[in-house]
Symmetry: C2
Subunit: 203 residues, 2 copies
């Protein structure tokens, strides 16, 4: 269970349709983590989920449709932001969560697969952008609270601060250039906080 990714399988209302969706999206996530977007096959996902092939084809139609729904699901299921009472602590918590997600074998593989898929598929790109929009908006609350407490200048673009925390961590993941560890997380959080205090993100 992880805030960036959000796993299917939580207890919640919905009955059979929701249980089928949980099972299929969990299986889709497993398949993506193992084989990437290029290896995502609806029949294989149906088999893994122990759901009829026809059901999967009827509801999700294509691999891109399945990934778009998985991303929507992940956005809905991801855990809420922290509220630790200080910008530094909240940004560090966010950065460490991103590092935990990207270094988790299943979640990390799932994210890199989806990012790669988004570079060549418009529907996946839209779903991925929407996922990050939801997550960034959730964590932007920490920055807005810091502005209200007077820790940051008025007019600070809260979403930009949150993106600034994630950016160096995703950049490491995709281009190399150092370990993705707690030290990297803390540095990313500190850099964003320092720049935000200096007014760099005032729009």
């Amino acid at each position: 269970m992880d805030a960036e990714g959000g796993e299917p399988g939580m207890v919640r209302p919905g009955g059979r349709t929701a249980r089928v969706r949980d099972a299929v999206l969990r299986a889709a996530g497993d398949a993506l983590a193992e084989h990437g977007f290029g290896g995502l096959d609806l029949a294989d996902v149906a088999r893994r989920a122990e759901v009829g092939k026809t059901t999967v084809y009827r509801r999700w139609s294509t691999p891109a449709g399945l990934v778009a729904d998985l991303l929507a699901y992940m956005a809905d299921q991801s855990v809420p932001r922290t509220d630790l009472g200080s910008l530094d602590q909240d940004l560090a918590a966010n950065a460490r969560l991103v590092v935990r997600t990207l270094t988790d074998p299943r979640q990390g593989a799932l994210f890199t697969s989806v990012i790669a898929a988004a570079t060549c598929d418009t529907r996946t790109a839209k779903a991925l952008h929407r996922f990050y929009e939801v997550r960034v908006k959730e964590w932007a609350g920490c920055v807005e609270a810091a502005v209200e407490r007077g820790e940051l200048p008025a007019g600070t673009d809260a979403s930009e601060v949150i993106r600034a925390v994630s950016a160096p961590l995703y950049y490491r993941l995709l281009t190399g250039g150092g370990a993705l560890d707690e030290a990297a997380a803390d540095r990313a959080a500190e850099a964003a906080a320092v720049a935000a205090r200096a007014g760099v993100y005032v729009s």
Copy 2:
């Protein structure tokens, strides 16, 4: 011609072998930009380059081999860093170059293709990481000069500062979240400079 990407075709020594390599790598870059890594086909590249298929297969063997050589070539050909005499100006020049590269239709498509390919191919990943290592090292000179001028604290990790400039720009490219324009470039450069001055990148 672009420092991040470096185009084949410059006048330099080498004779026929070098001309063949130039033509093949230019064709490979075109094919990658048009169809992505999944659509990279050695016979198609040979046809585009007007070079014998056997030559291409003998020298590069696989699409991954071709991309690895293209990245090595791009690293060799890319233009040197600026030396404008102040950290702020040099980082802004670097950030604007990254934005120009990522928003150039051919170069942008080429970079996203190669980043996507690197997520599922180890050899491409190594070649991509090596490319960024070379480019980061080149621009790190700006930061080292700023340390020598006393603009930044001693012990600043110059490569980390350069990566901090690129990171938010690549993050925008891959996850959405705003335009990739000069304003984004200048903000990325300013954030990195402010954090560097505060000692965030002292290792």
